[in-house]
């Protein structure tokens, strides 16, 4: 890789992967419970909750980046509070990029998990209940294992979407080499610089390879899991 990519480009690759990993893993528990709520519960205001969860799908990423900036900036109330009390700073930091990516790709995970939860036979839960399993027990022994293909599909889709995130990241945490310059931002920077076409092409090729590898891996993993859970 060293021969193919420059040190700065490797840095962008490393950063992209880190941002995506942290974003999807941090999202997962929330996405699962949001999906469970939507798939299994009936309550007033459900369409509103559903709409809020799916909002990032239709919201311009730049608008989200702006909203994050005015909420989590060190001089904004929320940002100042987090920084003063926990030393957490999102602006101009890769963790901010992960936060933006996490919010934007949240609906991808919720959708995939919700579909797999809705596809589950409710009769299995009834059977488990008569066999002595309480709600939390059923969650661990039935819902989660049976939703595994959906969870994995959601993770992979969200991961891929994270790798491509641009607008929200550049607006919220800016374009700092080694800190917030992920691959899309590096491509953008390369195009802006005179004579940067070769670098841009290399980074684009890298993006294509990452995407392909992700798809192949996702397909293989999905097949394996379906086999493991007996479908």
């Amino acid at each position: 890789m060293e021969g193919f990519l420059t040190a700065a480009e490797l840095e962008a690759l490393d950063l992209s992967l880190r941002v995506a990993f942290v974003a999807v893993l941090a999202d997962l528990p929330f996405a699962f419970f949001a999906a469970l709520l939507l798939a299994r519960c009936r309550f007033r205001g459900k369409p509103l909750v559903d709409g809020l969860i799916h909002l990032p799908l239709v919201l311009p990423p730049v608008a989200l980046g702006y909203l994050l900036l005015i909420s989590f900036g060190t001089r904004a109330p929320l940002g100042a509070f987090l920084f003063a009390n926990f030393g957490i700073r999102f602006v101009f930091s890769w963790t901010g990029a992960a936060l933006a990516a996490a919010i934007l790709t949240f609906p991808f995970q919720v959708r995939a998990i919700r579909l797999s939860l809705e596809a589950q036979d409710r009769g299995l839960a009834e059977a488990a209940e008569t066999l002595g399993a309480g709600a939390f027990d059923r969650l661990l022994s039935l819902y989660i294992p049976l939703a595994a293909p959906g969870i994995l599909a959601g993770l992979v889709t969200a991961f891929a979407a994270c790798l491509g995130e641009f607008g929200a990241i550049i607006t919220f945490v800016s374009n700092i080499p080694g800190e917030t310059r992920t691959i899309p931002l590096a491509i953008y920077t390369a195009i802006q610089a005179p004579g940067g076409e070769a670098a841009a092409a290399r980074l684009a090729a890298l993006s294509i390879m990452l995407a392909l590898a992700g798809l192949v891996l996702a397909d293989w993993v999905a097949g394996r899991t379906r086999m493991l859970i007996g479908q």
């Binding site: 299995l124 059977a127 209940e129 008569t130 002595g132 309480g134 007996g230």
Partner: protein
Amino acid sequence: MKAGVTLQHRLGDFTLDAAFEFGESPCVTALFGPSGAGKSTVLAAIAGLFRPQSGRIALGGEVLFDSERRIFVPARDRRVGIVFQDARLFPHMNVHANLLYGWRRAAARAQDQTIDAVIALLGLEELLARKPRTLSGGERARVALGRALLMGPRALLLDEPLTALDALRKAEILPYLERLVQETKIPMLYVSHALDEVTRLADRMVVLNEGRIVAEGSLFDVTARLDLFTGKHRLPGAVLEAQIARHDEPHGLTELAFDGEILVVPHIGRTIGDKVRIRIDADDVMLALTRPEGLSANNILAAEISAIREDGPNADVQLRLNGALLIARITRRSLERLDLKPGTQVFALIKSVTVGGRESS
């Protein structure tokens, strides 16, 4: 252990209003009725999967549901085993894990030997490592039975466990069910609309129709009633219990004793003194006013007509032989020609007898 069930529930046009008991020795009660009668709803209420608008359900001394006292024990605490029609095995677990699902969660776990005994009883030794997807319908039903047994249930509810199976698979699993009934003393409520299953397994019968209990009593009394089922729900015939009296090896026949009478049927491979259930279909019984002579028929029984119900061109005639009841189906024309009335002494010619689940003539 006795279970008392009283429940009322209204849903749209359908009203369920049922009260019955089950579980006292003899322990297998069939909840019988056409589809849509409300059988599965009753079962769901007993298991705790459905909360009726009003009523009371008690098992042994414990109240599981009482609408007046606002008691509703959740399904997971009821220890009522249920075997569903579609087995409902957990697809991501192998047979062994499925079997132990309820056992692991039971407060008072059965001994390890019990697990082996149940596995042997249901013939599951070879299946333990398999996933439910790879099992046949009959195997799935057996695993579902084993899973429910191993949770240590106080009562076992069987919701048409054989309906999804073809005749061959049914014949495969019925012997297991019979052994289960004989070897475990767990009170069972067996929901079915198939009389052949009911006659092999049940001792008592509760008949549900359009949400109401229309009959409750011994299997023999209920199957001989003329007023219960009409049209397409008509029962094929009465069920009796007989004892193997003698084997006539040279002729390949077995003599069955019941109610002081002898019935001759093709050879049954059971020991003398064994009790067997027999079903005599109404269409296979002919009536005569005098004892017929010079006939090939072996089985001619003296009886008295106890009731008659006319049904289109036909008439169902209930016959009393000492204590047992039989039904004959003849044409209304024959009824008039022979001038048959309740009280008339007749001879019943029995063309064919179904022993257990098997047909023999």
